[in-house]
């Protein structure tokens, strides 16, 4: 039985090791001297103190973790975050309903906010007015925090800007067969199609989708793999959001063989979309929640989005990063958010044209 005893000990050892390591978390590790770590009392297994905020964030920790920590530091309001994908958190909020422990929902796209809009509380106009009407819920239940533009990412070894068409319609040319990548399951792509339906009409959008399908675009799971594939030369162009490229340039250096191309004719192909936030109606802590959203629209936070995530700031007069075309010059389609609400119709159209399975 010696073996058996040893194996028991091994398990006990592993559990003890786990507890020990969990105890060494940044919160109680005196060696972790970085300011942001100190300000981040990760509420591990304990409940948050009263007055603390619970945020469901569909934006990833690598992107918005630092700015949420900065909020805790500035306001003294403790913030616990549940990270996840926007759609899964939205569905979780729907399941939780009135009982949800969440105070704030920070979503990657308007679709996620729209799905739970009935559970969101109206925001005070002092917050709504910080942001242009284009970038907030017409009913005032959520606001955009940062913007991203649709662009075409192209492989610099295969193409120059001169080879690229002026608008999305150009990619229906059979010359592009097999050279394009897209991500039909991605929320931003679907919002772009919704914008097309509003701007071009149902029939023209269907035609465009069918012509694109005939060009056998390569289907990806999201924006990131498209940019990776364009950089690797697997495909020559991809329909994506603008800010993914900069992460690759950071990691791989300027030699990364992909660049963004802002379609000169704009239209739905240059649509600017938002990542936004709203406060749950069921929250017992709405004042602190409003404070968080106000902070995310402050000059400090907006500058963070401009510089760190390379997104378009939407408030406080902050300018976008130097290598981005300013919002005003983007020739983006001016589309009220109410026209972008019909996600269901878009999904049906995408299914009918075989773009979605």
């Amino acid at each position: 039985m010696n073996h058996a005893r040893t194996s028991d000990k091994a398990i006990i050892f592993l559990v003890l090791l786990a507890v020990l390591m969990a105890g060494c978390s940044p919160a109680n590790d005196p060696a972790a001297t970085t300011a942001d770590l100190q300000s981040d009392p990760q509420p591990d297994l304990a409940d948050l103190p009263p007055g603390a905020l619970t945020v469901y964030s569909g934006r990833s920790e690598s992107l918005v973790g630092p700015i949420l920590q900065a909020f805790s530091q500035v306001s003294g309001i403790e913030t616990g975050v549940r990270w996840g994908s926007t759609s899964e958190l939205a569905v979780t909020l729907l399941e939780e309903g009135e009982l949800s422990p969440a105070d704030v929902f920070f979503a990657q796209d308007p679709g996620g906010l729209g799905a739970v809009a009935e559970q969101l509380a109206p925001l005070p106009s002092s917050i709504l007015d910080l942001v242009d009407r284009r970038f907030r819920d017409p009913a005032g239940r959520w606001v955009g925090i940062s913007g991203r533009a649709r662009v075409v990412v192209y492989n610099t070894e295969a193409l120059t800007e001169a080879d690229l068409p002026d608008s999305l319609e150009g990619f229906t040319d059979p010359a592009w067969r097999g050279r394009i990548g897209w991500a039909p399951t991605n929320a931003s792509f679907q919002t772009m199609v919704t914008a097309m339906r509003a701007a071009w009409g149902e029939a023209a959008t269907r035609q465009w989708l069918e012509a694109m399908q005939a060009n056998q675009p390569v289907v990806y799971d999201g924006n990131t793999p498209i940019v990776a594939a364009v950089g690797a030369g697997e495909i020559e162009v991809g329909l994506v959001n603008h800010y993914y490229l900069y992460r690759f340039l950071d990691e791989e250096g300027a030699g990364f063989a992909a660049r963004n191309y802002f379609l000169p004719d704009g239209g739905p192909g240059s649509l600017v979309m938002v990542a936004g936030a709203g406060v749950l109606q069921s929250s017992a802590n709405k004042e602190a929640a409003f404070e968080l959203i106000e902070y995310l629209l402050s000059a400090e936070a907006q500058a963070y989005f401009a510089e760190q995530t390379k997104e378009y700031p939407l408030a406080a007069g902050v300018e976008p990063a130097a290598d981005l075309i300013p919002l005003a010059e983007l020739n983006a389609i001016d589309m009220p958010l109410t026209s972008l609400a019909d996600l269901e119709g878009t999904v049906i159209l995408l299914r009918q044209t075989g773009v979605l399975p």
């Binding site: 073996h3 058996a4 040893t6 194996s7 398990i11 592993l14 559990v15 090791l17 786990a18 507890v19 020990l20 390591m21 969990a22 105890g23 060494c24 978390s25 940044p26 972790a32 990760q42 509420p43 591990d44 297994l45 948050l48 619970t54 990833s60 920790e61 690598s62 992107l63 616990g80 549940r82 990270w83 994908s85 759609s87 899964e88 569905v91 979780t92 729907l94 399941e95 009982l99 422990p101 996620g112 399951t185 679907q190 289907v219 990806y220 999201g222 990131t224 793999p225 940019v227 594939a229 690797a232 030369g233 993914y244 690759f248 990691e251 996600l343 999904v347 995408l350 979605l356 399975p357």
Partner: protein, 544 residues
């Protein structure tokens, strides 16, 4: 499982029927039936949730279900599951035989290394496979200067999904088959040899039939894993049923259509379970004491050794060295930025804690179900054992949402706490524990328990003194399996873990989803390393 007639079951007859507790004693109800029923009820919760949600579905859902496209996607899922299972049988059984029974060089190393792909999360494995073997991946980059290859054939679609899932899930076959080989009574093979069978004949006539329970149990896990996987199929672009379910959540936030589609997956699982049950009728049961017995004869491979070595090297190369190599390459680049050690330590601690608790809870929960189905076979007990598998075919997000729904309403004080998370792991991974426990318990002869009883011991004492010690390797093996898969679980961890509960897999996901590959490399390597320690321990212990 061999069918037992009432006469045999009642006692008297020698081998299979032998020892029984008095008919439905109070003790058996309290110790076995109640816990087993409670565990099964927890496991069936997701299905109840799905029925609830699907019943709210409108005509759009039925349109969706009745499209010809839906049948095609179902065909994709079935085809993928069948081919991945077949390939895993080949890989798993051959590796098990080579590492347990032959004079393959470095066989202990291969035994450990070949089991480790189980620790690689499928969204990471698939990403790395695409990064390495994609049309313009690392392999093409390496080949271009030498052979002038500018583009490799595309691996996307079925080939990539098949390759990725096979490489990630064949250890489900390898581990139980290895265990079965080690527990097998060498006397059986010796007698066959003495009756004039050659090595191949013994293998075919004695060894392989003996491995059938392990192959069935492992194959079922592989098939269910392929059905429920989302990470690999979405990254490698093969539309399976699970991907269709995710698209419902992702694109339309449509819970009732997703539920209706999930119920189709449940139906498919029931068919699979029934198939496995039928296949078990032919199952051979050899009781073996195993412990302290002779060791089986080693098959000398002769010149074939080198071919076998090349095979193992190639497999471990693709399934383990390739992904860890890409990770190490990313890590080297990340080191320039300085790794975030405290976060990594915290995540490692959380992963170990949650996985150890999950392993413990799941094995304890599996025991009554397995004892009932093996020692007290009846339709009732067999169906308890089958129902335990239901959760494993469901996509993680479905199980997580079911527990969100029931957890918040039924036990709000437990909602999004560690116990709730452990319960989710239990629901998800119970089949892994029951499958390997079951094949261990089958090999423990009833006669031993019977002798204990005849010496006047109470059933509980017999279990404690006789069965449990013999079962211990099986217990540890199933705990290890649950531990490994919990380490990489993502969906339930994100939705049901305590607030701010970062684990290695959430760290990897967070980094990979935003293309911070360098940041993903550290936690991913720690994950594989952490899993290799218990794995190495078990394999070295069983194979000195």
């Amino acid at each position: 499982m061999a069918e037992l007639g009432p006469l045999e079951a009642a006692g008297g007859l020698a081998a299979p029927g032998g020892f029984r507790l008095p008919r439905l004693s109070a003790q058996r109800i309290v110790l076995l039936w109640l816990p087993a029923a409670a565990v099964t009820a927890a496991v069936v919760l997701p299905v109840v949730y799905l029925v609830l949600r699907a019943s709210e579905a409108g005509p759009a859902t039925w349109d969706l279900l009745s499209r010809p496209q839906t049948a095609r996607i179902l065909g994709n899922s079935v085809g993928l599951a069948a081919s991945v299972t077949a390939a895993s049988w080949l890989l798993g059984a051959s590796l098990a035989l080579l590492t347990v029974r032959t004079d393959l060089p470095f066989r202990r190393f291969f035994a450990i290394a070949a089991a480790l792909p189980l620790a690689v999360p499928s969204y990471v494995g698939a990403y790395l496979l695409a990064a390495a073997l994609g049309p313009r991946g690392l392999l093409q980059e390496a080949l271009e200067p030498v052979l002038g290859v500018t583009r490799l054939p595309s691996i996307y679609g079925f080939p990539g999904a098949f390759l990725a899932l096979t490489l990630l899930s064949y250890p489900y076959v390898l581990l139980p088959v290895r265990a079965a080989l080690q527990r097998m009574d060498p006397a059986l093979e010796e007698s066959a040899r003495s009756l004039g069978h050659n090595t191949w004949g013994v293998l075919r006539r004695v060894t392989l039939p003996h491995l059938v329970p392990a192959l069935l149990a492992g194959g079922l896990l592989v098939a269910l894993y392929s059905l429920r996987d989302f990470g690999a199929v979405s990254l490698l672009r093969f539309t399976t049923f699970t991907r269709a379910i995710y698209i419902q959540y992702q694109s339309a936030f449509d819970r009732s259509s997703a539920a209706a589609l999930s119920l189709v997956l449940v139906a498919l699982t029931v068919v699979l379970l029934a198939m496995e049950l039928r296949a078990r009728h032919g199952e051979v049961r050899y009781a073996s004491t195993g412990i302290g017995g002779k060791t089986a004869q080693v098959i000398r491979l002769g010149h074939w050794r080198w071919l076998a070595l090349a095979y193992c090297l190639a497999l471990v190369g693709v399934a383990l060295v390739l992904p860890t190599g890409v990770l190490a390459y990313w890590l080297l680049r990340a080191l320039q930025a300085g790794p975030e050690l405290p976060t990594l330590l915290e995540a490692t601690g959380h992963s170990l804690l949650a996985s150890a608790l999950a392993a413990l809870a799941t094995v304890v929960a599996a025991l009554p179900i397995v004892i009932l189905s093996v020692r007290y076979p009846s339709d009732r007990s067999r169906w308890l054992d089958r129902l335990a598998h239901i959760g494993f075919a469901l996509p993680g997000v479905v199980v997580a949402l079911a527990l969100v729904f029931f957890g918040l309403r039924g036990a709000p004080w437990l909602y999004q706490t560690l116990p709730m998370l452990v319960l989710a792991y239990l629901v998800l991974f119970l089949p892994q524990a029951t499958a390997s426990l079951r094949s261990s318990l089958i090999q423990i002869p009833r006669q031993l328990e019977e002798s204990g009883r005849s010496l006047g011991r109470q059933p509980l004492a017999v279990f404690h003194r006789v069965t449990l010690p013999l079962l211990r390797p099986g217990l540890m093996a199933s705990a290890a399996l649950v531990f490994l898969t919990t380490m990489k679980e993502l969906q339930a961890t994100l939705l049901l873990g305590p607030l701010g509960f970062r684990t290695l897999s959430t760290e990897i996901w967070s980094a990979v989803s935003e293309a911070f590959f360098a940041e993903a490399a550290g936690p991913a390597l720690v994950l594989i390393l952490t899993c290799s320690i218990p794995m190495a321990y078990f394999i070295l212990r069983d194979q000195p």
